[in-house]
């Protein structure tokens, strides 16, 4: 069915003229009063004073504590479970096994394939085989130890290439190949036939953890109407509700999901609240009591989603002058035990499809061929993590670009200049980029701010003992704004009260990115009120319209458009009212900064409050609703051709490093990152995204990897799973270019994920430039750098 729908769409180039809403959204030429300004975050005061309540800070008096008994095996059959002893422990209220799940015993963000409680089989060490609810957390933990489970261990598989062999242990009934997706553009063999140089390389990236600082907490509270309230830090309240309803066996209108401020998410809190929410809710429904379920750091390392590990085999062909002519890639994408957000969600959603379509990079290549395998293994599962498949493939194509440049004797910036996307370029999926393509601007601006031309000539030893060698590197990247499926649609409600204050209802969540400041900025701008007069309502599926998840760098742009539409709808009645009161036509009336006046005679004015008060008194409409979805995505399932996402952000990073050629240690000395994210609605918040994203990319490049061995994780604590500290992140210069997206609010595009994508390859390229060693399998920790130098035949001119 989905395939047929896909076929019908074929390749389509998004035509701006066909999108009615674009005209509506086109920014007027007047200067912006609230949007576009670096305003302090509206929730800052609560954060710096410690008053902001995160889920773990709520009063849990009267709550039961839920705990999960997890599998000790990465793959095993469950022969028997005996819960008698656990049930008898004083303070234990319920011990549940698979048969106790009232509805569908499966959950999952994209497709439900993970049991709420495993009944017959476990597929990774994060699988739950029993749930306990007890009066205290301590008793719940004691009860877990009293549950007797008899397993029959099965052979397990941990490599995606091995997983799809015929003799591999079958993890799911339908086999281990979850998805094979393809890109077919042009004639790749004919392309290679024209090439003067052909290079083949394999790159590999490990599993990365989100390492958000706030551990997961979920509360499930049974409601008198037989429904369930679930609260907690989460990026996708509606997706959580969508899973809770069938698991509990009740309709969606009896499930209420409320989002609580997150202490970091980065994609991880898209899956984990579904997982914990379903489990806590089953316990709450069974016991009739509220249940709190929280994960300790070690538990969340085992149980929650991770960044997909990938193996990327690439062959690229170029002419002598650096012009790219053909690209062939095989992408081995390891899904782990469950589907999460890995597989394709038609027409163009899902992490795997995103990685596949980006694999050839932000380069115009006439002939592209990609086979992308997504395979189940018995490892923790891959979910959404900042960049959603893009950081992985950028590690490959950005290093390859440097390797190719070296082969051709070209400067790494020149080869990018030659092939990088420009206005009118066609991507690997045949999408013609017809607006807001600032990639080359970011490259030129970065080269200038960093002084690439000057610094690239200075690579060399910085000490007379020749132990430390300096080098520079560049990384370029692109990232979508949106998720490429129907649930990109965003709803917003704007309620204007009689006293002139405004309530903004949106389902977009706050995880630290600043949405709760940026969205009110857009609302205030459009209504012409002061920012402090807008209050954003905490997302609650009973109150706010469906907004899709807070992912895909989509919030500001997609929700921003919905808010503008909602504000304009309610403003129509405000304008009518003001026109009656001021006795001037609506076309002459301006709403700015809480004042309403005649443009031709500014002395004729009213306060916003006078207008709203009169509106209320005369029964005029005081609610506006906006609903915005981007132009429909398309992707042919056989050829991968189409327009999967409606607009992209672009960025170039340059970094200077010093490598100790004797120890392999890398020090970052300087960093410049330049962005085309369209119009920045809050430049200070955008800078914050950039700086944090770069730090996460530094971690990916140099130190982060979930250490897996036989399906177990060896680094379960933040002592062993290292993330960058203040000592690891250099001073950096974030630069936001003036950009404009015709389909975004005031010209905005996404930034949240774009920022971390080029960081790792820029660093890897700088390391190679400094010491001659190329690290093709991350992370580039001292050992890997040391070995790479040795492989290259020792440090240069030693």
């Amino acid at each position: 069915m989905a395939k047929e729908m896909d076929k019908k769409r074929e390749v389509q180039v998004i035509s701006r003229n066909q999108v009615d809403l674009c005209r509506l959204l086109k920014a007027e030429a007047k200067p912006l009063a609230v949007a576009g300004h670096s305003i302090n975050r509206l929730d800052d005061m609560l954060k710096v004073t410690g008053k902001l309540k995160y889920a773990g800070d709520y009063d849990h008096q009267g709550f039961l504590h839920g705990k999960i008994l997890r599998s000790p095996h990465p793959h095993a059959l469950i022969r028997s479970i005996n819960t008698d002893k656990a049930r008898q422990l004083e303070g234990v209220v319920a011990v549940l096994t698979a048969a106790d799940v009232p509805g569908r015993n499966l959950f999952g963000a994209a497709m439900p394939d993970q049991p709420v409680i495993c009944g017959d089989k476990v597929r990774f060490i994060g699988d739950g085989v029993a749930l306990v609810a007890a009066e205290t957390e301590k008793i719940a933990n004691q009860a877990l130890r009293l549950i007797e489970v008899e397993y029959e261990a099965l052979p397990a598989v941990f490599d995606p290439r091995e997983a799809i062999r015929e003799d591999a242990p079958k993890i799911h009934a339908n086999g281990n190949l979850l998805s094979l997706n393809k890109v077919r553009k042009g004639d790749v063999e004919a392309g290679f036939a024209q090439a003067d140089v052909i290079m083949e390389r394999t790159y590999q990236v490990p599993m990365q953890d989100h390492a958000y600082i706030e551990p997961d907490v979920i509360m499930a509270i049974p409601q008198p109407n037989g429904g369930m309230l679930v609260e907690g830090p989460m990026q996708a309240p509606f997706l959580t509700r969508k899973n809770l309803a069938p698991v509990l066996g009740i309709p969606m209108n009896k499930v209420r999901v409320r989002q609580i401020h997150m202490g970091g998410g980065f994609g991880g809190k898209e899956d984990s609240p579904i997982d914990l929410g379903c489990r806590a809710a089953v316990l709450a429904q069974h016991t009739g009591r509220p249940v709190k379920m929280s994960l300790e750091r070690e538990e969340l390392m085992i149980q929650t989603s991770k960044r997909h590990p990938m193996i990327m085999e690439i062959k690229i062909g170029a002419k002598k002058d650096g012009t790219l002519v053909a690209f062939k890639g095989i992408l081995w994408d390891e899904q782990g035990a469950y589907a999460s957000l890995g597989p394709k969600v038609p027409p163009a959603g899902g992490c795997h499809v995103h990685a596949m379509m980006m694999m050839p990079g932000p380069y115009e290549i006439p002939n592209c061929y990609v086979d992308a395998y997504l395979c189940y293994t018995n490892h923790p599962y891959g979910g959404a993590m900042r960049g959603f498949g893009a950081p992985q493939v950028h590690v490959a194509h950005e290093q390859l670009m440097d390797e190719l440049a070296a082969e051709l004797g070209m400067d790494p910036v020149d080869i990018r200049r030659k092939n990088g996307f420009k206005l009118g370029s066609a991507t690997a999926t045949g999408q013609v980029l017809d607006q807001s393509v600032g990639l080359m601007d970011t490259l030129e601006a970065c080269a200038e701010a960093f002084d690439w031309g000057g610094r690239v000539k200075q690579a060399g030893y910085i000490d007379k003992h020749k132990t430390k060698r300096r080098g520079v590197g560049v990384g370029m990247g692109w990232y979508r704004t949106s998720i490429g499926t129907g649930f990109d649609a965003c709803g917003a409600n704007v309620h204007v009260n009689e006293d002139g204050s405004v309530l903004l209802y949106s389902g977009i969540t706050e995880m630290g990115q600043g949405a709760f400041t940026v969205l009110p900025q857009i609302c205030a701008e459009e209504l012409g009120v002061k920012l402090e007069d807008v209050r954003l309502v905490q997302p609650d599926t009973d109150l706010v319209p469906e907004s899709g998840p807070t992912v895909g760098s989509r919030s500001t742009t997609l929700m921003g458009n919905a808010i503008i539409m909602a504000a304009r709808q309610v403003k129509e009645s405000l304008l009518e009212m003001a026109s009656e009161l001021l006795l001037v036509p609506t076309s002459r009336i301006e709403f700015v900064d809480g004042k309403v006046y005649d443009r031709d005679n500014p002395e004729r004015k009213l306060s916003f409050r006078e207008v709203t008060s009169k509106c209320w008194f005369t029964g005029k409409r005081m609610i506006g609703q906006g609903w915005w979805a981007p132009p429909m995505a398309s992707m042919n399932p056989e050829t991968g051709q189409g327009s999967p996402y409606f607009v992209y952000s672009y960025s170039t990073h340059m970094v200077q490093v010093v490598v100790d050629v004797e120890t392999g240690e890398v020090e970052l000395e300087d960093y410049v990152a330049v962005f085309d994210v369209g119009k920045a609605i809050n430049p200070k918040a955008v800078e914050g995204q950039i700086e944090g994203g770069v730090a996460m990319g530094i971690g990916y490049a140099l130190m982060e990897a979930v250490a897996l061995s036989g399906g177990m994780i060896r680094n379960l604590s933040l002592q062993d799973y290292l993330i960058p500290t203040m000592l690891d992140v250099p001073d950096m210069k974030p630069i936001i270019l003036p950009g404009y997206n015709e389909l975004g609010p005031y010209g905005a595009k996404g930034v949240g994920e774009m920022c971390n994508i080029p960081a790792a390859p820029a660093i890897l390229n700088a390391i190679a430039n400094a010491c001659g060693g190329r690290v093709r399998s991350l992370p580039a920790d001292p050992e890997a750098v040391f070995l790479a130098i040795r492989e290259a035949g020792g440090p240069p001119d030693a």
Binding site: G50, D57, I213, Q513, A685, S717
Partner: protein, 160 residues
């Protein structure tokens, strides 16, 4: 349970409580005293979110046995705001610099920075990096945290 009395000062006020034996300071602050501004991120002394000041010195309250604070003075994030609502200059500086994103590490970060500035009113970048390296932040990349602290040092130097 809870028969051992424990007296200490929190944010200038004396308290006497009877926490369960083996309690750590973070749990006493959060559960017995309702001071939930102190966050717990890892319970293993690695992330620094739970940092409070013990007699002015930053400590990981998730590891510190509660009995060790008997007779001593603990400062939590709730103690920085004056009774009239005036913020500590670090709190204002964090807001103006944009040094807080998700905010979960912010209390620990601000208290650690306060201990540094109390000892060294005009620290350089290296000193700030060294002092704050025990508090993990996954959101900010630390640059605006650095700016928030540096700015206060500079202001301190110019006497304003």
């Amino acid at each position: 349970m809870g028969d051992m009395k424990l007296s200490f000062k929190v944010n200038g006020k004396g308290v006497e409580i009877s926490p369960p034996p083996g309690s750590v300071l973070a749990d006493v602050l959060r559960e017995d005293l309702g001071l939930t501004g102190t966050k717990v991120g890892c319970r293993e002394g690695e992330c620094g979110a739970c940092t409070v000041l013990l007699d002015g010195v930053p400590v990981n309250s998730c590891l510190l046995p509660a009995r060790k604070v008997a007779g001593r003075e603990v400062t939590t994030i709730e103690g920085l705001e004056k009774q009239d609502g005036t913020l500590d200059r670090l709190q204002q500086s964090f807001m103006d610099a944009g040094a807080s994103q998700c905010g979960f590490c912010t209390p620990g970060m601000i208290l650690t920075a306060k201990a540094l500035l109390d000892k060294n009113p005009n620290p350089d970048e290296g000193e700030i990096r060294h002092a704050l390296s025990g508090v993990l932040c996954r959101c900010t990349g630390y640059r605006k945290v650095m700016q928030a602290v540096l700015e206060l040092g500079r202001r301190g130097e110019s006497g304003s």
